[in-house]
Symmetry: C3
Subunit: 467 residues, 3 copies
């Protein structure tokens, strides 16, 4: 069997017994997925997924970056060069290449997610090997066409109560409209991600700004019009269910300039004359502006800072963004967030959720900040930190200072649709493991741990994100 019922539980029998009981109380709770990158088109069109390689291998950063690190070229995976024709590739050949490198994923979360998905969804209960790769391909491919493996059927089977996609500020959200128009009952909401019209260094920023103006009818080259355009887009998103905005900046820098300073800065930005420092300051100012808009429209503000995007220059030139070469870097929060927190940190009705790729900030900065400011909550382990060991460290490094109730449950943050149940299951098991240790060491009573487990698996995400 690929999936042992006790997976991820600690070996000590007493602790494992507690973990099992805690987990039994939450394993069947619906999934709240408040932040992620699934494609709303899937739910709108409800078409069959094409083939196992396109489903599991090609869209998954965790998979193709590991293969690339060991000498597999992206072309071999059928990933297209920028501006080139769609790469031709035989999905079965990609699958077999993947299978022949499966040992690379030993000890990684990809192993857990993949085996959970193929086992629980497709009934595959053998470890992937070069020898059985063809047979497993056939099993999966044979099911993808069946109605019960279409996106909406899987949504129901996954017991998803609500899921948020993420769309850019200029997106027309037509797939979301189509989902709603369809009468299907699945709750799929969007989130407002305005990086392309907030970051002066984003590719095509000037054109993006012009599009924003067209979409909203505002004079977006003037500061007040620009802000008003954001307000309108936020309202547009909110009408399609959005309960949050999301911001992926290189740092957590925030600013709170005077009206006059902000106008002056924006004038440079709007003319394309912003220096690197101007651009950085502007991004920081916009976080605070977004927080202020949240005071009015109630959207939750998510800050996802600290990634050095597209670190591999030649890969970026050849293949474009999001090719697995985003590398975390050290991230300061204490001074960076202060302007925003000085402005709105004491607002009890605002929710700002800070994420990090830099674990060193958990105990030193983020837990002390979230354990003080009413507006600030701590997001779960993100990206490289959404794996079992890292999740345990998250709890160990934050709970003693911030408690459980200044955190917001789990985010799967994925575009790998079939991995969603697995990711939530891993998070639930890891939280039960952490709680079981507290109980076994008489630091928490089991009835309380059961309540906390439920909160971490379900309630906190639902409430923090208003889903």
């Amino acid at each position: 069997m690929l999936l042992n019922d006790d997976r991820l539980f600690p070996a000590d029998p007493v602790t494992r017994g507690i973990a099992r009981r805690l987990y039994a109380g939450i394993r069947d709770l619906p999934i709240i997925s408040p932040h992620g990158h699934t494609d709303p088109r899937w739910f709108a069109e409800n078409k069959a997924f094409p083939d196992p390689a396109t489903l599991f291998v090609k869209p998954d950063h965790y998979i193709f970056r590991m293969l690339y690190s060991q000498g597999v070229r992206l072309e071999q995976l059928g990933i297209a060069r920028k501006g080139g024709k769609p790469a031709k590739s035989d999905p079965r050949a990609v699958w077999k290449l993947f299978a022949s490198h499966w040992h690379l994923f030993r000890g990684t979360p990809t192993r857990l997610w993949f085996e959970h998905a193929v086992s629980s969804i497709f009934g595959v209960n053998e470890r992937l090997t070069p020898a059985n790769a063809d047979a497993i391909y056939d099993i999966i491919a044979g099911k993808l066409d069946q109605p019960e493996f279409r996106p909406r059927a899987l949504f129901e089977r996954f017991n998803i109560e609500a899921i948020s996609t993420t769309e850019g500020a200029l997106d027309d959200l037509k797939w979301h409209d189509m989902i709603r128009a369809s009468g299907w009952g699945g709750k799929v909401v969007t989130a407002y991600r305005p990086d392309s019209v907030v970051d002066p260094e984003f590719e095509g920023f000037a054109e993006n700004l012009a599009s924003l103006g067209e979409l909203t009818g505002e004079d977006v080259f003037a500061w007040t019009g620009y802000l008003e355009a954001h307000r309108k887009r936020r309202a547009y998103f909110k009408e399609r269910g959005a309960t949050s905005s999301d911001h992926g900046h290189a740092t957590a820098r925030t600013a709170n300039l005077s009206q006059a300073e902000a106008e002056k800065l924006f004038a440079k930005v709007a003319k394309g004359k912003a220096s690197a420092e101007d651009a950085d300051l502007f991004r920081g100012q916009m976080l605070t502006e977004m927080a202020k808009m949240s005071l009015d429209d109630g959207l939750v503000l998510q800050i996802h800072p600290g990634s050095f995007r597209n670190h591999n220059a030649s890969l970026f030139a050849a293949f474009g963004r999001d090719m697995g070469a985003d590398i975390p870097r050290q991230t300061d929060y204490v001074t960076a967030l202060k302007p925003l927190l000085d402005a709105v940190g004491n607002e009890p009705n605002l929710t700002v959720i800070a994420f990090t790729l830099d674990e060193t900030s958990y105990s030193r900065e983020l837990a002390p900040l979230a354990g003080h400011y009413p507006a600030l909550k701590l997001g779960p382990g993100w990206w490289f930190l959404d794996a079992p060991e890292a999740m345990l460290r998250f709890r160990e490094l934050t709970t003693e200072t911030a408690g459980f109730y200044n955190t917001v449950g789990f985010n799967d943050d994925t575009r790998a649709y079939l991995s969603i149940p697995a990711r939530h299951d891993v998070a639930r098991r890891c939280d039960c493991t952490y709680l079981a240790k507290l109980v076994a060491e008489h630091r928490l009573d089991e009835d309380e741990a059961a309540e906390v487990a439920h909160d971490l698996a379900y309630r906190l995400a639902k409430e923090a994100y208003k889903l």
Copy 2:
């Protein structure tokens, strides 16, 4: 029962058995509390503590910052605004508000400390809930008036062999004098904390300097007089039992200027014309000056760096210092301490104890430094790091490089008097847990572990602090 005898011991039966045996050998050792913030007036006057809320809730940063983070206003806790009238508050109402938020402290050390205190001191053996809050309030309130719950009686019941308070350089130490004059045998000493006359950016620095001059009869606006004034105050403190000085700077920066440079710098400081950089350099210079004075008078030098004080601007404006918004920040030691260490680091008779709020420095900087320099010792986990998980990390991250004998035992560092036995008990249990793991894994023999446990619980603090 609130207190399980095995609390904080690892679940594995063999390891737990070892931990129990180690702990049995040290549980009844007297408490050495070499650094903390209890009020000497308590011991001087020996009056009854007023009520449960004033005793447990209002003075405890850990408690009110957590409540504040979840929307409780400080006014609701009876905390007075700056310059305002003493806040009116019903202590019973504060207590019930606290009880209704008790779940927030799950997984935090506050939970452990509070339950240890109410159980072992007041015989309360139920978990605090809104339903029993009144009854528990009554139990505690009913005992506070009794003689055996007065400060001195508790001191003896707590088995405190020696405790150090911390007073500012300008303090007249009258309570300490009163304790000594009373004939009571409890050993309560002071520590010299001159931040208010060392830090040019401290509120009221100029007036503080003037007061220092008046107190000492020195011309404190000249460099030599200023240093002499410190020497006199140190002697004054030492006569009242002080064995240490303590310094809470924003960074660990030290400096070792020439006589001429130091005079020139001080001239600016004394005239109130120091820039931010001057002020920082001056604080660094004074750490080295204090270390040099320690060579003469034998006081132990404690450095507590790395806190961004009063991070919440509006809270600071409304309520003043120490309102729970001190946030740790990244702290360098390798370059920062070098001037001081170059000056006095090789002195075998000097003890400089470095603390940190930044765990990343444990294995990278502090353990390697303390494992080399004869004068440097490593202080225990401080503030947010004085909790079980953090204490284990402290040992895991420092022992392999610095051993046990370049550390100095435990500091409770608290003004929450009733939590002192609990804090030392938690530290002792965590050290036994760490040692039991070494024994169970055959990395240390049990007889040696027993000796180390004793050293960590008692001897190292007593010797390092000369108590």
Copy 3:
């Protein structure tokens, strides 16, 4: 017994059982020691080691830095002052001084290494104490003269398949030639360590450069001649078995200047007119130059950055380099390595191995980088991080992102010859402990764990270093 068969294995019986089985499968594998500092003269001359103190105490940084931190002066250990006469010291007295401080090493890896060596090599099975120090000295001293305790006999007894020493670029490698000429079959190779002719701030850099010119017949004061001289020396080292170069810079900074910029920079360096920034840039440029040479000659590039060398100024003045006062400091990799990675990071046939003294970079920077770039691999825990707890953290912090196969097995990195089997044994046991936990928690199957254990103990080092 000093050595328990289960040492370093987790206490939980199930997990321990798995660890035992995994370890049984690898305990007798030959040692691959791809990076270290043993003296090739030992193997060339095959003379007896002089006495226990000279063998165990005097050359071991871990030992004398700890003794120094507790007030033992280096003179007491017979360590000579710079330019002074060889220190006179009675080795037996040094040994007894060491024995009287043996408790300092509780919980440190020195304890494990020393006891493994004296027990398995000399049959000493008592814990060192002041009381038995003389007797143990006699046992060891009595054996050192015997043929089976000479360097080559120990090499064979240690089951060393290959070992690399490290020599400076100007070394004539005569001991390596002598080893080869001797007909002895032990595989002892060298590694190219050019710091003294690459770092403009190295003591004697100008003379070193001149020597490099003499050795190679190149005009090393011109950029092309300088590079050609390196190529020749690398070839010379490669003929003596070298498969790697090694670079110990203060930071991980790399650069990739244009030909013209590099020439201009080198002109300043060659004239001794380089500023601190020039020197730093030049070191960074040379890492990239070395990587480019590796593309041609196949040497593996090792980067060992992040140590503040000779931190203790007065000790450095009195005793010179390598006196235990090298202190790790925070090290950036994300921006530092980018120029080199942009130049050669996508080369699948190049191997660059990055090490760190700063654990914070493991999960944040190094695992994400090594989990993406084909050319980059992650070196094992180094220096203060080559101890059990640190080794487990290394796996916990890197595996989930980089897997096992972007790491390169173990380096003992030592000049303490007799500790080599112990160090490899500790590493093997720690890896088995980590793998056993994965198996016990159903995150990896035991047959796979056995394969990984073999890879980590043997294959990865052999293949990465081409030994």
